[in-house]
């Protein structure tokens, strides 16, 4: 692994590692670490840093849904055009073109089920190219972005062993 890949792997594991800690783990100088991260950001490889939150454990109600979208294309409108339009809505947390029975998989977040439903019916469904929407409300989340939401793996090792 080169130093870019190494930094990227570490930040994907934990975006809160300090420059100092990244340097210590990779043997790079702190200035090299900073320069590498800056490059990764400028080049659009690193697009942001976010916490992985178990929303069910927070005090506010959050509703999330995965929406399957089917679209028709014409000479003037391609997937990218439709995606650009949908991605602008702040309710849309994720949007991907996928293979299989439908075209886009969209993740939507809102404060209530009615808010999410209204968003789909009033903002998404009327888009002329969209021919069908199927909404799946998320009922329970077990793992997000590689992080399990269970009680975790307890360290049950003997405290000192040969």
């Amino acid at each position: 692994m080169n130093s870019r890949e190494e930094i990227l792997a570490l930040l994907r594991e934990n975006a809160r590692y300090s420059t100092e800690d990244l340097a210590r783990q990779t043997g790079l100088a702190e200035s090299e670490v900073e320069a590498t991260i800056e490059d990764l950001e400028t080049e659009g490889i690193i697009r942001g840093y976010q916490a992985v939150v178990d929303l069910d454990e927070t005090e506010h109600e959050h509703v999330r849904a995965t929406v399957e979208l089917n679209v028709t294309l014409d000479r003037e409108t391609g997937y990218d055009d439709i995606a650009a339009r949908l991605a602008k809505f702040p309710e849309v947390q994720g949007l991907r073109l996928v293979s299989g029975d439908f075209d886009f998989q969209m993740e939507v977040e809102g404060d209530s089920m009615s808010e999410v439903s209204r968003f789909i019916s009033e903002k998404v469904a009327p888009v002329p190219e969209i021919t069908q929407t199927v909404t799946h409300y998320i009922m329970e989340s077990y793992k997000e972005r590689g992080v399990e939401f269970g009680d975790g793996h307890e360290d049950d090792r003997l405290s000192v062993s040969p």
């Binding site: 570490l10 800690d21 210590r24 783990q25 043997g27 003997l158 405290s159 000192v160 062993s161 040969p162």
Partner: protein, 381 residues
């Protein structure tokens, strides 16, 4: 009626590690850098294979030497990774941990009066294993000046040439030292010249960070005199599943198996099913764990350097072996547990050559390592 301990057992002292275990257990917020096993759970697919085998009711004894499918995979893995060529039919023995295999070898090949030279500091089982087999032990202390590698000089200085057997473990517990092919050559020459058998504990072979592991058995004239010990505990984080193996010429495996068939019968069946899956599909998991260990290793070495604690650049297993800042390493380790709730193990516990050092395990999360090293820094200030 009293139970009178055998003389052999009587000469084996209780484990020197016990005291630190007891002290650490008394502390609430202990961060232990005193552990000799991975902090990871075994790869899920290996655990899943173990569960599936239980569901299918595959809980009978296996053949003494282990499941044929497992022996084949062990032989293939040893050939592909380390250029070790062993026939799965009669040159592989699957055991309950590498520890069992070592015990079998000590008992199979020694009579009272034989001598076993043990490169030290080392894992705690070799000396008792040799002693319980009736052999005399000759300590071969390695030196920090040699980065704790085994050299011809230290073998000669210890009079190891008079021994029947040489035991060595690289990558090493407790020092984290590794040995290159070039460094192993003179050791192999020494063993050939003195017609010694060699017990090579290579259970940490998958965990090297500067160069790939070389097995001493691959050096000229060594295969015929070497038993290689390895297992699934370290590379696959399967310690509690208790699965190891020995690789050796057919006659040696036959001898070891004669003890194994009476005392163990066969290695744990569930663990053998997990091990088959581990060898088939878990190379990526091992690579991921290895990368994590390497980052932690570099983190710990750089923190010790910042604190001004001398520590040779350990390049294998998951241990570093810094010099103890105090003259009395027992007092240091005890005070560190009591005052800062950080457990490390004094190096002398692991035998000759270890005095004045501390074994520090980095098989724990980076967050824990960070906290523990900050506490050590506070402690020595």
């Amino acid at each position: 009626m009293t139970f009178e301990e055998s003389e052999r057992l009587h000469s084996v002292p209780p484990s020197g590690i016990r005291r630190y275990f007891e002290l650490a257990e008394e502390q609430d917020d202990i961060i232990s850098l005193g552990v000799g096993e991975p902090d990871f759970a075994p790869p899920w697919s290996a655990r899943d294979a173990a569960i599936s085998s239980l569901e299918r009711g595959q809980t009978s004894y296996t053949p003494n030497r282990g499941l044929r499918e497992l022996r084949e995979r062990i032989a293939t893995d040893a050939r592909e990774r380390y250029d070790l060529a062993y026939d799965p039919d009669d040159e592989v023995l699957v055991t309950a941990g590498a520890s069992e295999a070592l015990d079998l070898a000590f008992r199979a090949f020694h009579d009272p009066g034989d001598t076993v030279a043990v490169a030290q500091p080392c894992y705690l089982s070799y000396v008792p294993g040799a002693t319980l087999a009736g052999a005399d032990v000759r300590d071969v202390p390695t030196r920090e000046a040699d980065d704790f590698t085994l050299t011809r000089d230290v073998l000669e200085a210890a009079g190891a040439g008079a021994a029947d057997t040489l035991v060595l473990c690289y990558p090493n517990n407790p020092t984290g030292a590794t040995m290159t092919r070039a460094e192993l050559e003179p050791v192999a020459a020494f063993a050939r010249e003195h017609d010694m058998q060699v017990f090579a504990d290579e259970v940490y072979a998958a965990l090297t960070y500067e160069h790939n592991h070389t097995s001493i058995a691959t050096l000229e004239g060594m295969r015929e005199r070497t038993v290689v010990f390895s297992g699934f505990s370290k590379a696959y984080a399967m310690t509690g599943l208790r699965l190891g193996y020995a690789l050796a010429p057919a006659a040696a495996i036959e001898s070891m198996n004669r003890i194994h068939q009476y005392t163990m019968l066969s290695a744990p069946t569930t663990a053998q099913h997990a091990a088959i899956e581990a060898l088939d599909n878990c190379a990526d998991d091992v690579a991921g764990m290895r990368e994590a260990y390497d980052r932690r290793r570099q983190f710990v070495l750089s923190r010790f350097a910042e604190m001004g604690i001398d520590c040779f650049p350990a390049s294998g297993a998951f241990y570093v072996f810094p010099e103890c800042p105090w003259a009395n390493s027992d007092a240091f380790a005890e005070a560190l547990i009591e005052e800062q709730s950080v457990a490390v193990v004094p190096g002398h516990v692991f035998g000759a050559g270890g005095d004045g050092h501390l074994r520090v395990t980095y098989a724990t999360s980076l967050a824990n390592l960070k906290k523990a090293l900050n506490r050590i820094e506070t402690f020595i200030d």
